[in-house]
Amino acid sequence: MGVTSKLGDLGIVTVRLEDAVNWARTRAMWPMLFGLACCAIEMMSTQASVYDLSRFGMELMRPSPRQSDLMIVAGRVSRKMAPVLRQLYDQMPDPKWVLSMGDCASCGGVYNNYAIVQGVDEIVPVDVYVAGCPPRPEQLIHGIITLHERVKQERITDWA
């Protein structure tokens, strides 16, 4: 964070607004759990105490789209689930991000058939793809950190 000056004992820190906002956004990016298949097990493992997603300000996996910023799509999305996923995405307040976890969510994986959406990017815009079948918790954390780095690069002129 670009601390430019500190005034005496008042504890005032001056910083660029976009840095402060991006810092807030990355440090409390609540994920919306969208566990659909075996990737969800790894996502729970990432949340649990060994890997501890709370270190990155993700204490809460919100089951409600209204309180979440990041949608982690973990698992294969069936065609019947697709409208549900899109509706939940539309219900999330801006700013919002989508992380596609695992091969099935990213490109359909081994399920190249009528029932599975060939990549969740057909339904919602995806920011980060995490490869793996399923990805290990380290890979998911790496994907989240990658997303954080991207969010930190956002500029005030790009905000809607």
Binding site: R79, N112, N113, A115, G119, I123
Partner: protein, 170 residues
């Protein structure tokens, strides 16, 4: 304890089309219009008492004719034995009576067969799709249904597939 083949043959001589046995599993092929009475007879007759419908399954024998088959797997909790009733249906507008009035458990199984094979069960209380979305076109487990809808992606054909791939917007 009655022999199911003998009991059914004597009760429904006109409805029995064939029977065979494979490794102790008895299969009885029944005419489609008699399936409800045969099921009821199997359930209620003393000595048969096949009182549990464990499964209803659809089969597509494409390109043979009759093309479709529906198997009813009955189980007798009283006598600890199983029986399979099988109905063959034509490939053109397959239709047979629903057995939900005899075995209510057939409700969802028949919906599944209707959904995936397109077999219509007349008299079913709520014949809707159960697995696929409501507006789905076609019946996916039919042998002539296309398997996948996206060509397998390699590095040499990536651009061609990517050109037609739908991408979501905000």
């Amino acid at each position: 304890m009655l022999d199911p083949v003998e009991a059914l043959t004597s009760a429904f001589p006109q409805a029995m089309e064939d029977t065979y046995e494979f490794r102790g599993e008895i299969t009885v092929i029944v005419a489609a219009e008699n399936i409800v009475e045969v099921c009821r007879h199997c359930r209620d007759t003393k000595g048969l008492e096949y009182n549990f419908l464990s499964d209803v399954a659809g089969v597509d024998y494409y390109p043979q004719e009759p093309r479709f088959a529906v198997s009813y797997h009955l189980y007798s909790m009283v006598h600890n034995r199983s029986l399979r009733l099988k109905v063959f249906l034509p490939g053109d507008e397959p239709e047979l009576p629903s057995v939900t009035e005899v075995f209510p458990a057939a409700n969802w199984s028949e919906r599944e067969i209707y959904d995936l094979f397109g077999v219509v069960f007349t008299g079913h209380p709520d014949l809707r799709r159960i697995l696929m979305p409501d507006g789905w076109d076609g019946h996916p487990l039919r042998k002539d249904y296309p398997l996948g809808y996206e060509t397998v992606l390699f590095s040499f054909n990536f651009d061609e597939i990517d050109k037609h791939k739908p991408y979501a917007r905000e």
